[in-house]
């Protein structure tokens, strides 16, 4: 069983939901990421989504776009992102790490070289935003053969047929994008999400993590009541952006927010 499947299974048995932070590798500087990952684990997160910086992040809002731009200014790359995960694994063999990004840096490395490198770095899942199932087959086969879960997105306008397809091609978990729009946008409509989750549950047995619109302990708690996991990204990166001169402060603020989310989610 993959580390992701085992994590979600253990959580389900204890009646808890996964807290899944997203940060961009190398934001604001390359040396920030590794200690931040360890600190987030101490704060009680279950899975880490690590963003691969890309020059043209079409599905992201301004907050995550700027995180990519800051990381790229310091020459962060897919290769260096993989190195960070290898270093993380020296002292942590239990927390699943999912790489999240766009397909072009992966194509530039080559699908097979990337799959091999991801396996060596002990990556658990790969979510490629602009690689829908129609285009993902070649890459997914290589990843699955190496025990890495291809993670796919679901959207508010995904049909039953589409959800069934994701159930077939995806593994680990499905990531439900709870809003039409880009990362960091708008407000969540709880009734809409609840209805959609019912539809999703009817078509897949995979765990469902919910992202987009999770801003604070309250929204994390609400979302935890609906899905199997809560993804928080832009709200964390905003803390980095607010403290560009003081990385220690940024780290503390992120930990504080994640701790409050953890507590709120566990009190459901």
């Amino acid at each position: 069983m993959s580390r992701l499947a085992a994590t979600f299974e253990a959580l389900a048995e204890s009646g808890r939901k996964a807290l899944i932070p997203f940060i961009t590798a190398g934001d604001p500087k390359p040396d920030f990421t590794l200690p931040m990952m360890h600190a987030m684990v101490e704060a009680g997160v279950d899975v880490i989504e690590l963003g691969i910086p890309f020059s043209d992040p079409m599905a992201d809002g301004p907050v995550i776009q700027r995180a990519s731009e800051r990381a790229l200014e310091h020459k962060m790359s897919l290769r260096r992102t993989l190195t960070i995960v290898s270093e993380f694994r020296r002292t942590n063999q239990h927390t699943p790490v999912v790489l999240m990004g766009y397909v072009n840096p992966i194509e530039a490395m080559g699908y097979e070289d990337f799959a091999n490198a991801a396996q060596r770095a002990d990556i658990d899942g790969v979510l490629t935003v602009d690689l829908p199932p129609e285009e993902a087959e070649e890459c997914s086969i290589l990843l699955k053969a190496r025990g890495i879960d291809p993670i796919f997105l679901l959207a508010p306008n995904s049909s039953d047929e589409r959800i069934k397809k994701m159930d077939t091609v995806g593994s680990g978990y499905l990531y439900y994008v709870s809003l039409k729009g880009v990362t960091g946008a708008g407000h969540l409509d709880v009734v809409d999400v609840e209805n959609k989750l019912n539809q999703i549950r009817g078509n897949t047995g995979l765990p469902v993590a919910i992202g987009f619109g999770v801003k604070d302990a309250q929204t994390a708690k609400t979302v935890a009541g609906l899905g199997d996991g809560v993804v928080v990204g832009s709200a964390l990166i905003s803390k980095i952006e607010a403290n560009l001169d003081d990385q220690e402060r940024a780290k503390q603020d992120i930990i504080e927010l994640l701790t409050s989310m953890r507590q709120a989610m566990d009190s459901v």
Partner: protein, 400 residues
């Protein structure tokens, strides 16, 4: 006899190129668009409405003009110009915006968005939106807003809202990113009119189909005027919509040589250019796989060209396929050479071409003298040069 050219496949692939590389949120609207497009493509009423608009609103057919004096001066092949510069709004862009806007209307969309580089596509979109009474938002890189202020003003006069995009390199590619973000957010009422043969399927095929009016007319006109097919076609390639529009109806005519001209900026060897087919490599950007300007890590790099309309790091996926199969040849022309092409056409024929089209003119100046006097080149004069007066004056140190 080889098999008839029939691309893309039903999932939008031109060999390894093209496709549908978008986030899941965009899959349903793209499928909806594709279904509507396939339906109306077969609908005689839709086709009749489109044809009537092209005739009475755009002013088609555009002339195929024999540039006799210029041909004589160059001493080789006879040069015929396909005069897309004479279309309403001054470029080929409106052939496509008319088609997509009529489609938007049939689909019940009330809001139009577009990206633009030089502003020609933005103006062509704002124009059709005004005519159909649709809300219109145009995304334009902040750098382009500054260097194409005249077109920004035209769009505003036409009632469009122009949004200056401040992210990334603040040029066309970033405007496209921002338009895609808008579309993802407002999919229910919004139609995204992409201006070139890029983007996810069905855009490359759909924009091509709307632009093939250029090549269909040129073929008929050439047969009527000269009595035979041309020997060569020349067109500039940024995203490549005017080029594919001219080339497509001739792809199965194997005696016709097809040449696309990319922007070499300061020269391909300097790295400061916009010539992905000549000097880039395959990758994925803006929903399709094609040749790109990128670094070793797969990050998109900045492009350079005197012409804002060619200043784009990708190119339509069908051009990538035509290059790999050898059916078309892709060459490049520097800023300096394009300026020479600009002046030559202006002084020899009394036609002021757009800087984009000037790249095609500059290559024609190299090609024509290598051909015999009874051979024929059709060059796409994709737009008129009025919008470039500021840029040209500035480059030549003249204050207006």
């Amino acid at each position: 006899m080889t098999e008839k050219y029939n691309m893309p496949d039903e999932r939008g692939h031109f060999g390894p190129y093209g496709g549908m590389f978008v986030a899941e949120t965009l899959i349903p609207p793209i499928q909806e668009l594709n279904a509507a497009y396939q339906q109306y493509l077969q609908d005689p009423e839709f086709i009749a409405e489109l044809d009537a608009d092209l005739q009475h609103y755009v002013g088609r057919p555009s002339p195929l003009y024999h540039a006799e004096r210029w041909s004589r001066e160059l001493g080789g092949a006879q040069i015929y110009l396909k005069r897309e510069d004479l279309n309403h709004t001054g470029a080929h862009k409106i052939n496509n915006t008319i088609g997509q806007a009529l489609l938007a209307k049939r689909m019940g969309k009330t809001r139009i968005i577009a990206e633009t580089g030089a502003g020609q596509h933005g103006v062509a979109t704002a124009t059709v939106a005004a005519r159909l009474g649709l809300e219109c938002v145009v995304y334009m890189g902040a750098v382009d807003v500054a260097r194409q202020s005249l077109n920004v003003y035209r769009m505003k006069l036409l009632g469009a809202k122009v949004v200056a995009v401040e992210s990334g390199s603040k040029t066309l590619k970033d405007a496209l990113n921002e338009a895609l973000r808008d579309w993802v957010t407002n999919v229910d009422n919004t139609f995204y009119i992409i201006g070139t043969v890029a983007g996810p399927h069905p855009y490359p095929a759909m924009v091509r189909d709307f632009q093939t009016i250029i090549g269909r007319e040129a073929k008929q006109q050439c047969l009527a005027q000269v009595g035979r097919l041309p020997d060569a076609l020349v067109a500039c390639v940024g995203g490549g919509s005017n080029a594919i529009g001219l080339f497509y109806p001739f792809i199965d005519d194997h005696s016709v040589k097809i040449i696309g001209v990319e922007a070499a900026g300061d020269g391909v060897e300097t790295g400061r250019h916009s010539a992905p087919l000549c000097a880039g490599r395959p990758g994925v950007l803006h929903g399709n796989r094609t040749y790109l300007m990128e670094d070793d890590d797969g990050e998109i790099i900045e492009t350079h060209s005197i012409s804002a309309g060619l200043d784009y790091p990708g190119v339509g996926p069908e051009h990538a396929w035509l290059k790999d199969t050898g059916r078309a040849e892709y060459v490049n022309i520097t800023d300096t050479e394009a300026m020479a092409g600009f002046h030559a056409l202006t002084r020899m024929e009394g036609i002021i071409p757009a800087l984009e089209s000037s790249h095609a003119m500059a290559y024609t100046m190299k090609l024509a003298p290598t051909m015999s006097k009874d051979e024929i080149i059709i060059v796409c004069l994709s737009g008129r040069g009025d919008k470039d007066m500021q840029t040209i004056a500035q480059r030549e140190g003249i204050e207006l």
